[in-house]
Amino acid sequence: MFLRLVADSFGRRPRHKLLTGAALALGMAVATAALSVALDVGDRLAKEFRSLGANLLVTPQADSLPLEIGGVDYRPVNAGVYLPEADLPKLKTIFWHNNVIAFSPVLEVRVASWTPRSSPSSATFVKPAANGDSVLIGTWSNHSVALPDGRSFLTGLGQTSPWWRVDGSWFQDGAGECIVGKAFAERNGVIIGSPLYLGTTSSDGLSLKVTGIFTSGGSEDHAVVTSLSIVQQYVGKPGQYRKLYVSALTKPEDDFARRDPKTMNAGEFERWSCSPYVSSIAYSIKQVLPGADVRVVRRVAEGEGQILTRVRMLLWLVTGAALLAAALAVGASSAASVIDRRTEIGLMKALGAGSGTVGFLLAAEQLLLAFVGGGAGYALGIILARLLGERIFGAAPEPSLIVFLVIIALATGVTLLGSALPLRRASRYEPAPILRGE
């Protein structure tokens, strides 16, 4: 009989139920879309922030003080300490290996450059008159790193410094090719395809072919960039590098993350090392690179953390506002549907139903509506979130079970709350005046 009454209520006033359900579904769709986006946005934005390049810098621990001005090291080549390139595949074996998205080792040396005398194909080289000294940077362009587990990982400077713009193409690793900075090219009249001679004298140097001209907006614009192995050979430091840029996906640091891991107890340390804070990633990289000093590039990491925190908070607040509006509108709609059923309630009470039974019946109706409306709203919201995610980040957020549960719980809570007040009043109705139409 109970079920029949509920079914009858739906069958008798389909339009009303449909409208209440629609309000509910739309409200819950807002909530779902906003929640899905807010949950997903941290990861997506963390990826976007990688366009700022490396957030970790690895240097030799025992190094002498670099005399670095505007990105150029003024120390002689034989000063300082180097790190072994052979250790690098270990970066992809650390606990956070999936968060390490790119790394590139760098070895720099100051050289003099010669460009062809008359035509690009001319065999004789002249040392350019103006500012002969330039910097030769050895690094990876699109280097395949063989990992210990047999797979390989493709990485290079293009990923750790994504703001570099190359006209032409990147050099091939170890192929005797190079790219030159725009300022260098303009000063020395170098064009794509021309040969370049670099060295301290005209006989012991390197002959490279220019495959591209790049702009970085930094001091590198005056430099020549070629593959690491060529520079290693030229400097006589095979298999070694001096600086390593690492780009990693991180979680914004909070106060806990900034604590010194040495002062933590075992439980705290575990929690710290199991969160992808930039400092805990730095810590685990240090574990696999002996003799290296892993430093967080504060300028990138902190700016990123600050902005990520703000944006996330902003979105949560928008979500909160959306939830509130949806809840109020849905609550209002359920309240309306109860208020207008006074006659029915009066009749039921006149026929001997207790306040509890009446309340239970109406609540059951509302619950059924909440489940149906909430489910429909969730589906609609997921579609919206997908559209939003694809348009903005090119990737849709994964539908998550948590969001579904939250939405259903919210729908139930809101409808029950919305109808609670009118229901309480309904339970106090005297049937006689209602049936008389007063």
Partner: protein, 396 residues
């Protein structure tokens, strides 16, 4: 005829008053739904405009994003220099947002701590890069590595910040005195603890521009100027182009790592915000409309009665639309005001600064609410086909 019309009008308003007052519960429900919608609309619109502006200033956290260097320089920052008076020729503002200017000089100096004990090993001066900085307009908040004036005052003398790595290499601690020499010039400074920056700054000594110039043996010359320019990517690009025209003797260039990264992130975030706000607004509107329509459908009896005593369909409809518009106005005004206050609070929570209320948002929110209210009363048109008799018989 005018008399009839005015009676008519008085009657019209009287009916409306009665319609509104007849059922307090219903009135409350309607105002709640409309007010909630208006509040969210106003809050989000206000926050959205403000948040984008704030975001651009948030990017200051990344530090300098524009640099001014001598032409044909960079690798010879030690040789060619800029005139210090350039600093005054750079505007302090860009489209109403502050521009922080930092004059910088680089000198390679020999540095060793005063009172260095021979027990700790031979007294060996180390070479280090000294960065002299000056911020002519320190009022604008400055993140990162510049010296704060207050620190300088507590020591009543020249102070320097020594980078983490440089400090361990030179064996100096906070409070030590560092002797600096370069060629014939020498100077000294009190050491302040430096932070770890994770970049070249860790190897450098930061001091006042004057110390740097003294050691470099120049006055009125600087190596480069760093600028922190806030604004949208377009605003920054315009600023750079305008500045380059103003300063033909130097090269103004963006630090692409930050300008491009910032532009990309800004576009994503503002797109995300706009899209989320748009979806929330549309759905909230629909949701309020559905709730309202539900209420409107309950007016069957009223319509039936009005028609029975001779009201024409048009007049009945006008009555209900007027009622809806009034409700929308009331809900919109209450909700809109609440929403603006809400957005002030939200802005404070997110950015630490209260969002500036934009007055244009208020009428927009109210107008939108009225439109939603009228649209939700629209299904009453269907009631025009009601036959009064069947309503009174309790049918349908």
């Amino acid at each position: 005829m005018p008399g009839f019309r005015s009676t008519n009008r008085a009657m019209f308003w009287r009916i409306i008053r009665r319609l509104l007052g007849a059922n307090r519960g219903r009135l409350f429900v309607i105002l709640l739904a409309l007010g909630a919608g208006a509040a969210v609309t106003a809050a989000l619109l206000n926050l959205q405009v403000d948040a984008k502006r704030r975001l651009t200033t948030e990017f200051r956290a990344f530090g300098p994003n524009v640099v001014i260097v001598p032409h044909e320089s960079s690798e010879q920052t030690l040789i060619s220099m800029l005139d210090q008076s350039l600093l005054d020729r750079i505007p302090d503002e860009n489209d109403g947002m502050p521009v922080t200017k930092i004059g910088v000089i680089y000198v390679i100096v020999s540095a060793y701590p005063r009172g260095y004990s021979f027990k700790d090993g031979p007294r060996r001066p180390s070479n280090a890069v000294l960065v002299g900085t000056q911020v002519p307009n320190p009022k604008s908040a400055l993140p990162g590595n510049a010296l704060q004036n207050s620190e300088s005052e507590t020591y009543k003398a020249s102070v320097c910040k020594v980078g983490l790595k440089a400090a361990s290499e030179l064996h100096v601690q906070k409070g030590d005195v560092l002797d600096l020499t370069n060629g014939m010039s020498s100077d000294h400074c009190y050491v302040l603890a430096g932070d770890g920056y994770g970049s070249a700054e860790d190897n450098q000594i930061f001091a006042d521009l004057e110390i740097g110039q003294h050691l470099a043996g120049t006055s009125g010359r600087i190596s480069q100027i760093q600028l922190i320019v806030s604004g949208t990517p377009q605003q920054i690009a315009r600023f750079i182009a305008a500045l380059q025209q103003q300063l033909p003797e130097a090269e103004v260039r963006p630090i692409r790592q930050f300008t491009e990264g910032e532009a990309k992130i800004y576009n994503r975030i503002s797109g995300l915000l706009t899209a989320t706000v748009a979806i929330v607004l549309v759905l909230t509107g629909l949701c309020v409309m559905a709730a309202m329509t539900n209420v409107a459908m309950e007016r069957k009896n009223d319509v039936g009665l009005m028609k029975a005593i001779g009201g024409s369909v048009r007049r009945v409809l006008r009555l209900f639309l007027a009622e809806a518009a009034l409700l929308g106005l009331a809900g919109g005004m209450i909700g809109g005001a609440a929403g603006i206050f809400l957005s002030i609070g939200l802005g404070k929570a997110v950015f630490g600064v209260a969002a500036r209320p934009r007055l244009i948002v208020y009428p927009v929110a109210v107008a939108l609410t009225i439109i939603v209210a009228i649209l939700s009363a629209y299904p009453l048109r269907r009631l025009a086909s009601i036959r009064p008799a069947s309503v009174f018989r309790g049918e349908a």
